[in-house]
């Protein structure tokens, strides 16, 4: 009996990501969610600008490539034009939390019925490791060689907490993929974000705390330790908003 194999919703293309990059794990979790919810054939993904720009080669469903940060706006249009389709976006922190913050916040405020997968690795990966809005205080990057100075560059944005303060969104959660336990939990939460859309509940965002071994200058295993020691204390995991569950509890 096969216990584990590649999900059907991933193509046979070889991933271009660096060795040990957790994008591959998150791609697989999204594909597993598409398989598990049975929406293959009507799922449409929106790819970001960033390392995951070539996600359209990897998901075995229709994909659209959005301008930098505009994936939630493109997804809004797709969902309103084709309400029967299941629309998801896959975005990094340079895409969603920086140039695309406006589109993200307003899509959440409008409670658009889309699923957003937000990969937070605290750095700009594709462009060579510059400081991102989510880089931690004191974190060394190409553009903060002495560590992020909060007096000059400000503080990191905690996207999940910020969006959970809005009345609009249905479901906001933060997960991580730094160990087997967290990957299993991330799988459940991402699947729930897809189920919410199928049930017509509204905007679901899953923030996935991830690593960037190349630009952090660490081995893949060391980068996952860094996630546990530095990232998760600053970005605590958990479900920040679940409107249906809150209403059911009343």
């Amino acid at each position: 009996m096969v216990v584990f194999e590649k999900p059907k919703s991933l193509t046979d293309a070889e991933l271009h990501y660096c060795p040990g990059c957790t994008h591959g794990i998150i791609h697989r979790l999204v594909a597993e969610a598409i398989d598990a919810t049975g929406v293959e054939g009507r799922a449409v993904g929106v790819a970001p600008v960033g390392c995951a720009v070539m996600a359209y080669n990897y998901f075995a469903c229709d994909m659209v490539e959005a301008a930098h940060g505009r994936a939630p706006a493109v997804a809004t249009g797709l969902k309103r034009a084709m309400p029967e389709n299941i629309i998801f976006t896959y975005q990094g922190d340079g895409d969603l939390a920086s140039i695309g913050m406006c589109e993200t916040v307003h899509a959440a405020a409008r409670n658009e019925n889309i699923t957003v997968i937000f990969v937070n690795n605290a750095i700009y990966g594709m462009t060579g490791g510059q400081m991102a809005p989510t880089s931690l205080p004191g974190q060394v990057t190409q553009t903060s060689p002495y560590g992020r100075d909060v007096k000059v560059a400000g503080y990191p944005v905690r996207v999940s907490e910020m969006l959970a303060a809005l009345d609009g969104p249905e479901f906001i959660a933060r997960v991580a993929v730094n160990n087997v336990k967290n990957v299993r939990n991330a799988k459940k939460i991402i699947q729930k974000a897809f189920e919410n859309q199928i049930e017509g509940k509204g905007f679901s965002l899953v923030e996935v705390v991830s690593s960037c071994p190349t630009n952090w200058g660490m081995t893949p295993a060391k980068a996952l330790e860094w996630v546990e020691e530095k990232m998760i204390p600053y970005y605590p995991l958990g479900v920040y908003k679940d409107k249906s569950a809150e209403e059911a509890a009343k």
């Binding site: 216990v3 194999e5 060795p19 040990g20 160990n179 996952l224």
Partner: protein, 68 residues
């Protein structure tokens, strides 16, 4: 009887499966080199495998298939 198979040609030798294995029976090959130019992961003690699929859960490249 658990069986783990590696698609060696797409492995990037990142070692996350080696770290994830609770039985510590995976390793990075010191002798083989794949077509991508990486030293791939390999099973060192197939008989000790419990088929938990922890390695496959952590593999970013879907290299590993687990059967039990």
């Amino acid at each position: 009887m658990a069986k783990v198979t590696f698609k060696t040609d797409i492995c990037k030798g990142c070692g996350l499966c080696v770290e994830a294995c609770p039985k510590h029976i995976l390793g990075i090959s010191q002798t083989k080199i794949n077509k991508k130019g990486h030293y791939p992961a390999e099973m060192l003690e197939p008989d000790a495998c419990i088929g938990c699929a922890s390695c496959a859960m952590m593999c970013p490249d879907c290299v590993i298939t687990v059967e039990r």
